[in-house]
Symmetry: C2
Subunit: 281 residues, 2 copies
DNA sequence: CGTGCGCTTGACCTGAGTCAATCCTGGTGG
DNA sequence: CCACCAGGATTGACTCAGGTCAAGCGCACG
């Protein structure tokens, strides 16, 4: 884990995802100054443990790129991923750790950490900061509600289908020459399985079966062509394409602070899943 | 559903659970005055639908007695209960409805409804009001995390065991002459099953099997003797008796505004599950 | 005294988890 | 450049936990 010296963000700010569409850009400029004075970048390799169990969090952070997973395991090691933390999202506010929760990097991650004390001092002062933290909490709650419902009321197949549909909101998406789109799944099978409360094997089989049904086509394990998003959504018990839990649109990440390594198909300029240019707001 | 004329709460306040340990007692007195001026009592019979699906909530409410269930169903009618709303808890803030969620009475319920506009006008003015709403949101998130983890990572048996243990925090509890305590489960099997993402039949069988193992004894379907709470907790994957999601302690309800009908064993003076007098705070 | 509903029990069966073998790919070192 | 290796992904075979379906049971209520 590399760690840069304190960075004032000054030059970077307009490029930074947190500034462009997250915390930093929505708070009072004075708060931003104070906060950025305590900011450090930090790069984590995939699977690095960021916080473990009841180890009280010592800092507040914002994800700049990559995905963190917020999870908890039972005694036999069965793991449940409770949330994905995406670029632009804050973590470490409200002592969300404590009861055996862990935060780990699901992919390579770059994040920005702020001093917790500085953050706590700023909270009561800036109503926009509070509003942003509140907003993100509401989103979190909404996503968790969806997940709980999905695990409790949907079949594994429906959950996987829904995961792919919802994934088009926050994972890279490219148009496909023959129509539809190609979703680049940023998570390994293990993580998908643990998020959807199923197993790696079932996930594989379900993907194959969705492929047999023509709902998807696997270009390679991580790149999935979705010819008809609406059809897949229907399989995933998503009534209208509109009602999915709110994730930040990765599309806004397109030119984030640190471009992802430019391998194979990974979309650097994602468009909307339906092939239209990315929606605003 | 009976509805009283507007009630100023004046005389009732000290008796009211929301005043004694919830919203009303924690906010600025001026806010309380304004809020209570728009307050109505409302009694709902069990299973009455309070809000349905995308019907935008028109009011903010506080549960005074009984339990509401916050739920969502899939297309085949499989239902998932996502949260229980207990005496003292607020609902209707932040448009939590919208995506097919429903709020229904799980038992007979008495609640206090406030005008949503009044509430929204007060929110920006009173920091203590905001703090209380925030606090309750954090609790909600925490409970939902536990539930998601439980459904995803625990077996149905573990979930039922844990449900009973956690239930001692928010459902009536009495000491048992032979030691341990008697928990009066306020929910029907159906609700328990839908909360724990299992079926009525499995719930029954699991209860029987816990009984065979001597972990519980069913006095009648709704009154369960727990000789050793810690042993049951262990079966429910609750490590230390301390780490359960935070529910309001029903013990504080003991003399709430409207006593529950005094049938059979229902404890009017619950004590702590371990037999000690109720813990403070 | 019938009816209905909630709870319980039994029989059955299948979806999905477990275990194990194989494939594939990218990375490493010779 | 190639052989080898490790880890992820896939596939197959097997098993059983727990869901479904179908009956009883018993209490509350009209």
């Amino acid at each position: 884990m590399t760690r840069s010296p304190a960075c004032k963000c000054a030059g970077l700010a307009p490029e930074c995802i947190s500034y462009r569409l997250g915390l930093c850009g929505r708070i009072d400029p004075a708060t931003f100054q104070a906060l950025s004075a305590s900011a450090h970048f930090e790069d984590l390799p995939a699977d690095r443990i960021l916080w473990h169990d009841d180890h009280a969090p010592a800092f507040v952070g914002v994800v700049l790129s990559g995905i963190l997973r917020f999870e908890r395991s039972n005694s036999q090691g069965r793991r449940q991923v409770l949330n994905l933390l995406l670029p632009g999202e804050i973590f470490g506010v409200e002592n969300e750790l404590g009861a055996g929760y862990t935060i780990e990097a699901a992919t390579d991650v770059r994040l920005c950490r702020f001093d917790a004390h500085v953050f706590d001092r700023l909270m009561p002062k800036d109503r926009r900061l509070r509003a942003e933290v509140y907003r993100q909490n509401v989103n979190r709650l909404e996503r968790l509600r969806w997940l709980t419902w999905a695990i409790g009321a949907l079949s594994p197949e429906e959950r996987v289908a829904a995961f792919l549909v919802i994934g088009t909101d926050y994972m890279p998406v490219q148009p496909h020459p023959e129509g539809g789109c190609v979703l680049s799944v940023m998570l390994g099978r293990r993580d998908i399985a643990d998020l959807l409360a199923t197993t790696v094997e079932s996930t594989c089989r379900i993907l194959k079966s969705l492929e047999r049904d023509g709902l998807i086509e696997m270009l390679d394990p991580r790149n999935i062509h979705i010819p008809d998003l609406a059809a897949l959504a229907e399989r995933g018990a998503i009534q209208r394409l509109g009602d999915r839990p709110s994730f930040p649109r990765i599309v806004r990440m397109a030119r984030s602070a640190r471009p992802l390594p430019l391998r194979e198909l990974r979309a650097m300029m994602p468009i909307n899943a339906d092939g239209a240019p990315a929606r605003a707001s």
